[in-house]
Symmetry: C2
Subunit: 340 residues, 2 copies
Amino acid sequence: MAEKNRKWVLKSRPRGLVERGNFEWKEEPLPAIGDGEFLVRNLWLSCDPTQRGWMERDTYVPAVGIGEVMRSVSAGQVVESKHPGFRAGDLVSGAFGWQDYAVSDGGGLVPPMKTPAGVDLATALSLFGITGLTAYFGLLDVGAPKPGDTIVVSGAAGSTGSFAAQIGKIKGARVVGIAGGAKKCAWLTHELGLDAAIDYRSENVAQRIRELCPKGVDVYFDNVGGEILDAVLAKLARGARIVLCGAISGYNDFEHMSGPRNYINLIIYSASMRGFLVFDFVSRFGEAIADLGSWVKAGKIKDQLDVMEGLENAPEALRRLFTGENLGKQLVKIADPSRA
Amino acid sequence: MAEKNRKWVLKSRPRGLVERGNFEWKEEPLPAIGDGEFLVRNLWLSCDPTQRGWMERDTYVPAVGIGEVMRSVSAGQVVESKHPGFRAGDLVSGAFGWQDYAVSDGGGLVPPMKTPAGVDLATALSLFGITGLTAYFGLLDVGAPKPGDTIVVSGAAGSTGSFAAQIGKIKGARVVGIAGGAKKCAWLTHELGLDAAIDYRSENVAQRIRELCPKGVDVYFDNVGGEILDAVLAKLARGARIVLCGAISGYNDFEHMSGPRNYINLIIYSASMRGFLVFDFVSRFGEAIADLGSWVKAGKIKDQLDVMEGLENAPEALRRLFTGENLGKQLVKIADPSRA
């Protein structure tokens, strides 16, 4: 066990891209636990676009305070426990932050909570965690695709997008992915089996959507917002459902983020645009994890991990989401589990 | 019967406010009817914001062609018929346009189609026509208010808005109306019984919404778009439903219409924004007209008419919708029914 707790605290609120300078590195003694608490050794950090929002302003959760440890979901191992529900060796996921060790009373856990036997911790943060569940409920419950529908997914080479796109294929839809760069687009069609991919860096997205979706878009799973959202709004099918999962294109300049001017087409096409939070579906997480597990087993869904090593590199790992360098789920590996 | 058919045809597409100069007055011989057709004497024209769109561009229907009679819903009387389903004297509503007489094969009729006995034609164009049905299905089916919900209605002193607001009260919600000017606001609270009104011309709408809807807005029935839509998006209740009925604030400068930048709050509040067309609900028009009729009978809903006389004044009547001069349903009265 490390003698100290290394951590990144928030030093300043970002303007534009997340910078290493927005964080301050600290090394402190290990925290002590009280009755009803346990100590977690963080092993993996999850990088998620929403963390950019947490650094800047109150959203669905309060902003991270200046001087507070950077908030993130992570997966780790209980190393000491005075909590009746947890014991040393348990593998858990929670909002433990960018640090080696965290104290928990069990309140900040996130699915899959305790990691089931046979599932590695990286997958627990990806397909079986918030990421996979967000794709599952967003696509299936909010998007409600029917077999034969045309689904468009933006951020399709990112983790949530890649799961949403694959779930769309599993459900019998035609799926068009949008991603940045030829390599990602080739991965979408060759590795994930999407019907087509649009490279937003080199292609005219609005024109390609018109070509690839001549009957209009039935379901749009939106991770990016901005011009791509407007391009899809320009080519809706009647009764289209837009699933608002994120708007990463606007996160770096939230104050000047513009709205989708083509939203008026929602009227013309009797279409809807709906936001959601994965925790709206908490009572059905078990059902989703069972489905996702069966699809992995059957080879129908791939969980692509993009791993950076070392807690000291967490700022760079988070930044990759906004420069588009990651393919699939961006993680930071901090340590290996102990062989308790 | 007049000897000639007076009509307004579209001369040029509007830029900004609708102008009389966008139309050209023509006088032509009465049209002849063939087998399966009937001739309608227009008596009332309906003025609707959507007509501004029809003048400019293709939407859910093709744009009106230059040189074609201006499209509008109107109510009239059959004066001659070679159609088995219609006979002289029948009162009908349809897309008969800005002219004294129209030929129909029965295809362009709109609800309530044939006007029932005891309903005057003006009411057929208002509460029992597209206007009332749009309010009914938009508020009840798209907005789905629950008793005790807080509903905000923009354009609340217009026809559709005033019906939506009153239906909200009938269903046990708290209703806040937004309108332009003290007179309209007083009408909303004193005459229609709304819980509160906001004068967008003299008040800070965003601030007033925060004050009047401390728990957030559950249902927003939007007729206007623009800054008011953004103000509501800034104060949503969890699970809020935004009913997109129109966006009149943008119709005069569609090319520069901006989108709602606060749409991102749809994610934070698990909220939705849904457009609709009244014809999505065509199979249920009868049910709606029965409800609306019973509410009128019980004195629970008022149908405020704003009437301008004379076909020659149709351009000015339409323009009133965009200057905000109308209170309730803007109509043009062309002629009285014959005493056949």
